[in-house]
Structures are given as structure tokens and as C-alpha cells.
């Protein structure tokens, strides 16, 4: 049951577009920086397989320039 956090760097002038695209994904919580072109994404999925698929989905967003993972936790879903 992975929980991971990422730094999402948008393409130039695409911070809002990236924020909107990521926010539409059910497993993602998105926290935009107030004063820099950067977003934090926290993902919450049921399995590693689902997480891998989600990562590919995020990486295919046009407004995304770079996605870098910061931390990963694995925890029982109902703990």
C-alpha cells in the first residue's frame, strides 16, 4: 500500500496546467509552492503495480518537465 511523495517541476509557464492535470487524478494530492514553479505530489495507491501505472500516467502529462521521487512508505491500507 504505497504512499509516495514527488517533486513535480512544470514546463515553463505551465504550473497551473500541471496543477490542474495532477489534481484530476484520484490517487494524487497536489500542493503547489506559493513562490516557485514547483508542486508537491503525494500519491496513495493500493499496490506497487498501481503506483507504477500512476507514475507513468503522471510522466505523460505534457505540462510536466520533471518528476522526482522524494520519499516512499509502504503501509497497510487500514492501519
Amino acid at each position: 500500500m504505497p504512499i509516495k511523495s514527488y517533486l513535480a517541476h512544470p514546463q515553463e509557464d505551465k504550473k497551473q496546467a500541471l496543477f490542474e492535470a495532477l489534481s484530476k487524478i484520484e490517487q494524487c494530492e497536489v500542493i503547489p509552492a506559493k513562490n516557485e514553479d514547483l508542486l508537491i505530489v503525494v500519491t496513495d495507491t493500493n499496490s506497487q503495480e498501481e503506483e507504477d501505472k500512476l507514475k507513468k500516467l503522471m510522466e505523460n502529462i505534457d505540462s510536466l518537465k520533471l518528476l522526482s521521487m522524494v520519499s516512499g512508505f509502504n503501509t497497510p491500507k487500514n492501519d
Binding site: I3, I31, K34, N35, L38, V42
Partner: protein, 774 residues
Amino acid sequence: MNNTLTNRRSFIKKMAALSAMTAAASLFPGILFAEEQIKGIPDGDLEWKKGPCRFCGVGCGILVGVENGKAVAVKGDPNSSVNKGLLCVKGYHQIMCIQASDRLKYALVKKNGKYVETPLDEALDLVAEKMKDTIEKHGKDSVAMYTSGQSTIPEGYVASKFMKGAIGTNNLDCNARLCMASAVTGFLTTFGADEPMGCYEDIDHADYFITWGNNMAEMHPVLFSRMLEQKNRRGAKIIDFATRTTRSSMASNKSILFEPQTDLAVANAICYEIIKNGWVNKKFVEEHVNFNKGLTNIGYGLEDKFSFKDKATKINFEEYKAFLADYTPEKVAKYSRVSVKDIKYLAAIYGDPNKKVVSYWCMGMNQHTRGTWINNLVYNIHLLTGKISQPGNGPFSLTGQPSACGTAREVGTFTHKLPKGVVTNKKHRELAAKIWKVPVDRIPSKPTYHATEMFRAVDRGDIKFIWTQVTNPLVSLPKTSRYRPAMEKESCFVVVSDVFPTPTSDVADVILPASWHIEKSGMYGNSERRTQQWDKMIEGPGETKPDAWMTIEVAKRMGYGDLFPYSEENHAEEIYNEYIQFHKGAKHGMAPLEVLKEQSGAIWPYVNGKSTQWRFNAEYDPACTNGKDFHFYGKKDGKAVIWQRPYEPAPEVPSAEYPFWLNTGRVIEHWHTGSMTRRIPVLHKAMPNAYLELHPEDAKTLGISNGENVKVTSKRGSCIMPASINERGLPTKGQVFAPFFDENLMINDVTIDAFCPISKEPDYKKCAVKVEKV
């Protein structure tokens, strides 16, 4: 799913977000996630309680979310004008250390070499008995207290009253000596009054921010964020003047690097250029400034019992101008490594009458064997140009600790200080005696030991009992290679009050379990003269008690109970109300308690229900009474002083045997010696250990790769730590840098205990070392 932080999965998600914020802060100095603070933290049944942040001297307002008696969340206080709802990574995480598994919950007494859990009352009995016995056998100057710029105002006040008013010794000093003493002596010699004249609102008005040896992006991140906001919004410019390329340099408009110690010469060269180009504000200088020179070749304090007293001699403008002839940009460029063009560039910024300039500094200028001088020299620049005490114009000495100003400087927990004034002044002693209700003769008129000399006295066996509170000197002192064995000697009984075990508590005979910040009520005073109050938010574990209360309990046991008639429940408030009697009047009036409870702090002088934002400026400061636009009322004639201070070299410079400068400092993730922040998992994970930064060319010459262990050695000691090349910061060629937060990698075994002879503040920024691959 229960959507509160007490739910483990939500908590882990929060941790993941905080980890990312920490990483983001490493990439983008000053990055803010204001929306997250509001949106990401559940309200639920949380009760939000206001207070100041525990870390650093900026004094951000925080709101702590309390649920079922536990602190579970922190957010920035939107009503605080300091941070306007924003926090840095340390601020967000601060409460996460409280429940660390090795929290000191009960008193520990060393018996037969082992620590034995002991009822607090019994431990306090022992402390009082030992202190009393020591005084009886060896005199009152054989006992000492060493406190902190992180002590609350009441804690500092009762320590001063206990040592100076009750026992009658000036053996009280504090760790602010290690960070702020040069700022104090700089203010006193130039203005006759301590602490900055401006406030943080200067940031909203300045056209230029010039930072002198000050990595604000890591050390004062919220203020740096405010500066970046002004840079982005209205084109304000940040000029970073430093010895090392840091995150602040990278985020600034321009970075200018100088050879260590030559800031003295560059400051004089700037003044030379200001005069040469006719940029002196003649009216201001004529009306508000005197010129003095002091003694030169003043030493470095390396010897025990070193003594120095400066002597001021009046000079005139022409003599000062002639002195500056040795500091032409061309001459100074040769040894400062700052180009003539850059010196002239800096002078032109200060000299332009249409540009508002704020100079910021902190440890780079204060931890300096000529710390008082370099403070004086930056004031010279602002006084020559009249850019002072106005919104957006002024010199601004930033504080390192949350109450270095409020407690160490204003209450006066230094050997020479009293809550108002100094021990050498009869009137000041009389005022203290009157308020403390003690005979005036009991307060000694001579200062005794400043911090470094206090631990030298422990080593010599002159001090036989020492009590430290809220500080970890065996990590933070310079030359710990001498002072650790000194504190281990059986000749001195050591009492340590702290929240967590530290290398200092490791040598204690008695360890007293202290309440953490929000487990007690208190007040702090920040860099902009803002006093901030908070009420106890949660119960501390076990038998933890506020430091002030433990001091009071020991005082009572020693027979001084009548001087400490405070109640356990309300002692912080009762002490504050007694304390502010010292500062009555327009020059330093403190806000009453009810005001502090209502709002997120108030700036002194607090006069007629109003904070004074810019001192010495008649437009804002009711204490100005000379009928002119400015009144530097700290000096008898109302004039500030431009000091003639030369460049003098550091006591120890790189040599064939020790070819590198060693500079030490802090990192954004950790607070000082790391005793709290290293117990916050997300911060510890982000920065798990100290390191030695090298210039890539030096590393290549020595055959050192990134991450490889290197041994850094001085005449005093050595330390093995991993090399860091092209990572966090970039030292100039011939210089190395190490942070001091890591008790396992003790860089202060290597540093030198030389200090400014006027302020007695040690220089942690310059000594000579060699570096070897291990």
C-alpha cells in the same frame, strides 16, 4: 477513513508531504507552501494556540493544533506580521521532537558512575545543597550558571536575579555570547543603545538588500522569502557579500566573494569611495555624527584571563578621511580578492541617494575576532550616507536564537549586565536592588567570566559548580577539545537542565528534565525588538518542569524564597510583570502582558499603546526629544559615532602545514547543535550528518571524491567527516566549510577559541586546518 492526523495513514501522507517540502527547500531557498498549511491540516477537534516558533531569531508566529492534550500540527500564524502565515521547514516540523523516545522525563543523578532516576524534589535538594556547600567552601564566585538565548524571558530573569541578586556573583553568562555579543558591543559603541533601530517592514521598502556574510536562505528563510518576494514583485535587488557560495548567493542578483577577515578592509573601502565621490550626506553627518578612533593591535583572547579595554579618542572628519587613504579600492582589491569594480559597485549602491538600502548580517560579522569593529564599520557606511532609521534604509543585525534579544540582551544574562544597564554602573545596581528587594551591596560591581573564560575557569578548577540551562556547550563552544575534558574533571559539579540527552548532559552529575517550549508559558524577544508571549499549550511528560521554576525551587532551598514569591501556575506572568519595571519609559517601554496576549507580539519601545518601528527617527520614535529629525539618544550628546577601525589579520591564517581556512556554520534543516532537529525524523533524514565542503579543484588536488571520508585537522584537534563537493555550498579555493549540528562529527574540536577582545565573542569562521584523505 478517519481524516485526522491521528490516523496513521493520514499521518504518513503528511510525513511524505513534509519530506517533499524539506527536499524542495533544499532546491529552492525560501520556497513556501502557504496553501498547504491551510488546506492540508485538518481542523477536526483541534484547538489552535498561538506562540512564537522555537527555532531561530526571526520569531515567526505559529499556531499549534492541540487535540486530546497532544500537539499534533503546526501552521504559520496569519496574524503575525513577521511571517504572515508562512513557516520554514523547521517551523513546520518543530513539535515532532517532543515525543522522541529518549526524552528526558525524570531527573537523573549520577551515582557510582551510573545515572539513577531520582524524584525531582530530591534532585533539586541535591543541586541546592551542592551549590550552597560550594559557596561555603570556596566562595560565591566558585559557582556559575550558563544559560541561553533560547531561555524564555522569565527564565533569564530569574537566573539573573538568583545569581546576581540572591547569591551575589556575576558568574552568569550565556550562549548568546557565542552569537550576538559583537552585535551588542557594535550597537553600544556606535549608538549607545543595543538592538536594531529598524524592523522587518524595512523589507517592503528597500531597493537593495546587502547581506554581509549571511546565508539568510538557510538561516533566516522566512525573511529571505520576504526579500525574494520583493525581488520578484518590484525588482528589489539582493547582493550577497560572503566568503562562500551558498543558497543565498544562488538566489541573489549578485554574489561577491571576499577573502576571510577582509570584510574590514572592504567596508573601509566603501567609505573611502563614498567620501571620494561626494556621496556623504553632509547635513546628516554634521548634525548627528561624531568621529572616534579606538585602540589597535588589540589581541585575540587566546590566553586564559585575557583582558582588554578599548579607549576612545575623538577625531575629526579630515583625520578619518586621511585614515581611509589606506583603503582605496585598488589597495584593498589586492588582499580581499574583491575586484575594484565590485567595491565601487557596492559603494555606488550605498552612495545613491535615491536608493534605499538595508544591510543584513548575523554570524559572519559577529563571530569574528574583530566583530565589534566590523559592526562599527557597516554602521559607518549607513551613517555617512544618512541611510538609517527610515523605512527601507538601515543596518540590521539579525539574531540567531529565538530570544537572544529578549532574554540574553534585554534581561541581561551576561556577566556584565543587569536587566537595565550594567553591573559597573552604580545607578543600575541601585535600580536592580530596589526592584529585587536586595541590599545594593550584594550585587557585585565587576563582571567575572564571559562564556569562553567561564569554561576555561572550569578547566583551571576555579569554577567548582556549573549549571547549564537550554544549551549544549560541549557541542557549541569553540575548541571543545579543551572544554569537554574540562567539564569531565571531578573538580567541578555539573548540573544540566535539558529536554534531551546531549554531549553536555553526558558529563553531568545531575540532569534536570526541562519542559519543552510549548509545555510551559513564556515570552521571547526576536530580532526586530518584538516581544511575543505564549501560554502553556500541553502538559510535559513525567516530572518535567520549566527551567524558571527549577531555578526558583533551588533558590528557595538555598534560603532565598522571599525573593522569589511567584506561584508555580502563573510564575511566567508574575515574573514578566516584575521585569518590565526595569524598562519603563519611552526609550525601552515593554508592552503589557494583556497586549501580548491579544496580538502576535509588540515591538519595544512600546509607548502610548503603540509599537515603535523605527527608533531614533523623530517621525516614528516618541523618545526623540532634541527637536531634530533624528536623535541618537543612547549617547549623551544625541549623536552616533563613526569609528575609525583598521583591517587587522585573523589570529591564525593558512600556512604550509595548515593550508586551508576552516569556516563553520549551520544548515537549514537543523537548529544549532541538532539536539532537537536531529530527533525530527524528516529533518534528520534530509540531513543525517555533517560534512566537509571543499572546492572541487582542492578536492581534485588531494584526490578526494564526493562522499569519501576526510580528516580535517587544526593545531587543536581533528575530525573525520565525509567530503562534500559541489553539493550544498561551494567554498572558495583554499577554504573548507563544515556545519556544527552533528554531535558525532565534532567540528568544534578543531575550531579556535580566539575572540573579539571587546565583545568576547569567539570566531568560528576562521582558523587554519589541513585536510587529508582517510
